[in-house]
Amino acid sequence: MSDPRSLLKRESGRFIQADGAFERLVRRRDHKRRNQRVAAGVLGIAVFALAAIGFVRLLGWEEGSVIGPATSPSSTAAPQPSPAPGFSTFSSPLHGITIDYPAGWKVKAATEPWGHGPVAFGASNVDVIFDPKLRDDLFLALVSEPLGGKSATEWVDHTPWDQNVGICKDKPGWGGGGGRYSVDGAVDGWFESCGPKPKFQDSNQLVAVATATSGYIIYLHVGDDRRLLATYDGDWFEAALETVDLRPEDAVDALNPSESP
């Protein structure tokens, strides 16, 4: 038997790409740009809707800018590949991040840049994607900020564990342990599991990751319930992380990096 390398090499020679690959790529790019223009229009409408919701909130609606899954995925800054059946895609208008989530969940989009405060269910500067039945017992939270002069590693190793942020405060390994992790090509991230009590020490999952310009926190909170924890475990979170697209250039605060700590 030949060695695997020569066998694979011989096999790969059987796959010849059809002519006109570059022309197809150009068409694909043009198509994508067209979609982006459409998405920008939709984003304008979404911003208007957010403003209207904010107005309603001023009038006393306690929930804030809750957007159902039918409208939130359309507030994309750029089109994404179609999510898997049963899933929707959320593109954060403020934090420059895209992620797929179960279609029945709802989105509470951030209405202001993250101010380095608590990554909490009710925070207005946090993108929250939640199960409408379980609300703050099952949600994903997303925030980002410019690195503000820190290196990506410095940011990942310090900022997310700040007491103010309020989640997984004692990195590393307070709960289920942690380790280096990559998200969407950003390789110096950190994955951490933690929880409020020993019995539920893996109930929360956190990934902190940074690109060259922005730091991100992606947080899964699961309430103290064994059945929930069995479903929304580390594997579930990692599968969700696989759908993440980091787009620091789309983050609103990326325009004013000096404003961030």
Partner: protein
């Protein structure tokens, strides 16, 4: 990249510099066939390989001003392609988790037309084993580099590649290649 095999594939575009469209086109033409063929081996599906290759090149094109100045633009291209592959693979797993009655994974290698003996041997491998084999054995990335691309440790890559080699060998010996 640790092996000259990949650098050699760069051809004239190995010296890619600058940020203009012509430089990108040169890079594309130098790499597209090999990336496509490698993705065919990994995914076992020509259409999916074509789509992944195109998406990877689009992402590189969007960031070409930075990628062109990298020491290893080809490595970046493969990292991007592997990220996209992983996303698709995990998306499929995510979707199928909802359908407990279905099998967790369907192997698309069985759809490759005109299968050779080697292709039939590849059917026996998981997509991750195929990816580990192609990245390390065929392209020549180190296990650490391949691990970054696949989101696993270098030890896992070595294990996957080793399992893949063993499975291939067993199948090929049965076919007496």
């Amino acid at each position: 990249m640790s092996d000259s095999a990949v650098s050699a594939q760069a051809g004239p575009s190995g010296a890619v510099v600058g940020s203009d469209a012509a430089a990108f086109e040169d890079f594309f033409r130098g790499q597209t066939q090999s990336l496509y063929a490698h993705l065919c081996l990994i995914t076992g599906n020509r259409a999916e390989a074509e789509e992944l290759a195109q998406d990877a090149f689009l992402k590189v094109w969007e960031r070409w001003d930075r990628v062109a100045d990298m020491e290893e633009p080809i490595g970046y291209l493969y990292r991007t392609a592997m990220n996209l592959f992983r996303k698709r693979y995990r998306r499929a797993v995510l979707a199928l988790r909802k359908k407990v009655s279905e099998e967790l994974r369907t192997d698309e290698f069985s759809t490759v037309e005109d299968r050779s003996i080697v292709a039939r041997a590849l059917v026996e491998l998981t997509p991750r084993q195929r990816a580990a084999l192609v990245l390390t054995e065929l392209i020549g990335f180190s296990s650490g580099e391949a691990g970054h691309m696949l989101g696993v440790s270098s030890g896992t890559v070595r294990a996957l590649a080793s399992q893949g080699r063993a499975a291939m060998k067993q199948h090929l010996e049965a076919d007496d290649v």
